[in-house]
């Protein structure tokens, strides 16, 4: 890195990767990419690349952890060692543990766990390349994997990170914007119910900035939600009209 201060947003409001302030990175979604799980999805948001897989409902091991009236939702958010600039050693870091928790709580908010007592639903998110917004892209992928697995839920979950960079509110922070910006706020919603299932803030925002950032996030979320729905519909579009 040279000594000049890196300019993340130009005079004309163009970001370091050529995007406008309210522009999402290119989004690619594939469903059913892994065979052994009950449901799976692959999401690319710019250079961020993530797999998600769901197993369940299945038996709980050890048995004594099972709940009598509902399923347990387990979630593991994990990054490969080569997904980041500096190699990450194997094993779970504290960040991965925290993110596993908030993602699990987001999904628990929408999955109808009471339909499968004494079972577990296991969600695995594997980040193979991290360029910002991994927990939100991971959640977007996990929601699709749950849908493919046929796990009943209230709505799909779509998520994105908004933030503040050089005084401007921006949508979908990439890694460098997250590192050198003033605020990073990941948000996940169930758009149909207009409810928030994940919300965190790392940084500082005025109340007005928070309101505007939320509006910006909602726009991004609706775009992602539409893509999720289009991809799901396309996958099943050949469905024949036979007696099921």
């Amino acid at each position: 890195m040279n000594n000049e201060k890196l300019k993340l947003i130009s005079e004309e409001g163009i970001r370091i990767d050529g995007r406008r302030l309210e522009e999402l990175r290119p989004l690619k979604i594939e469903i059913g990419v892994l065979d052994k799980s009950d449901g799976s999805a692959y999401v690319e948001l710019g250079k961020t690349k993530i797999f998600a897989a769901v197993f369940g409902p299945r038996e709980v091991h050890p048995k004594h952890l099972a709940l009598p009236d509902r399923a347990i939702l387990n979630c593991r958010y994990h990054m490969t060692s080569f997904s980041v600039d500096e190699r990450k050693p194997l094993g779970m870091t504290r960040r991965e543990i925290e993110l596993s928790k908030v993602i699990r709580e987001a999904l628990e908010s929408v999955v109808f766990l009471e339909e499968f007592p004494r079972t577990s639903i296991d969600v695995y998110i594997e980040v193979i390349q991290a360029d910002g917004g991994t927990r939100t892209a991971g959640l977007t992928a996990a929601s699709l994997a749950l849908a493919e697995a046929g796990i009943p839920m209230a709505d799909l979950v779509a998520a994105v990170a908004v933030g503040k960079v050089e005084g401007h509110l921006v949508l979908d922070l990439c890694d460098i914007e997250d590192k050198y910006g003033e605020a990073d706020m990941p948000i996940a919603m169930t758009p149909r119910l207009n409810s928030i299932v994940l919300l965190q803030l790392n940084g500082r925002l005025t109340k007005e900035e928070f309101r505007k950032a939320l509006e910006l996030a909602k726009k991004g979320i609706m775009e992602i939600y539409q893509k999720q729905k289009d991809t799901l519909r396309k996958k099943y579009s050949e469905a024949s009209l036979m007696e099921v």
Binding site: P57, G150, A154, A239, S240
Partner: protein, 224 residues
Amino acid sequence: MPLYFSEREIVLPGQLLSDDSKRSGEGTYVLGGKVYASTVGFATIKNDKVCVIPFKGAYNPQPGDKVIGIVIDVKPNGFEVSLGRHLTATIRIPDKKEVQALNLKIGEVIYAFVKESGLRGVFLETGERIKKITSGLLVSMHPSKIPRLIGRRGSMINMIKKETGCDMLVGRNGFIVIKGPSPTNEFAAVSAIKLIEKEAHSQGLTERVENLIRSILAGGAENE
């Protein structure tokens, strides 16, 4: 009732289906007086209720279902049988002599009927209703695709049996036992099952399955 979907439309979780909260069936949920889809599937009206038939869903045993299971535990008062995935069923036999007479061992495969299924668990009928399967090829497919394997009034499964010359026992829980005159015939049946699992929702499937079986039997497709 006012509906927001067309018959057999593909719906997604969270999609609004109707305003009549009193008529919500499987695959849906009620919120604020409205009915929404809870899984990906076909929306339809069944027994005057709005339902979503999921493309994939966990198997929920119903009394009378025919299932195939693997014995996983032997107890003084019965047996435990795995029906695959998260399901373990129980055969409850209070009479110790009867338990011994049935003589089921761990790893043994049985064909049985579901007696009851509820909060207390899944129970299988005992006595003569249990058939031991001592030979054959055991394969599994996702239980939600079994209806497609059977087909309308058995059309698909009967075609496969006829074309491959194999005996096939199908468990509603996704386990299938195949017994055929030769390994190639059995392989043809397994390949048919795999194709149906992969393409359960596409058009013209019956014809494609038939063609696949014929090409395997003709010695053509050795590698699938």
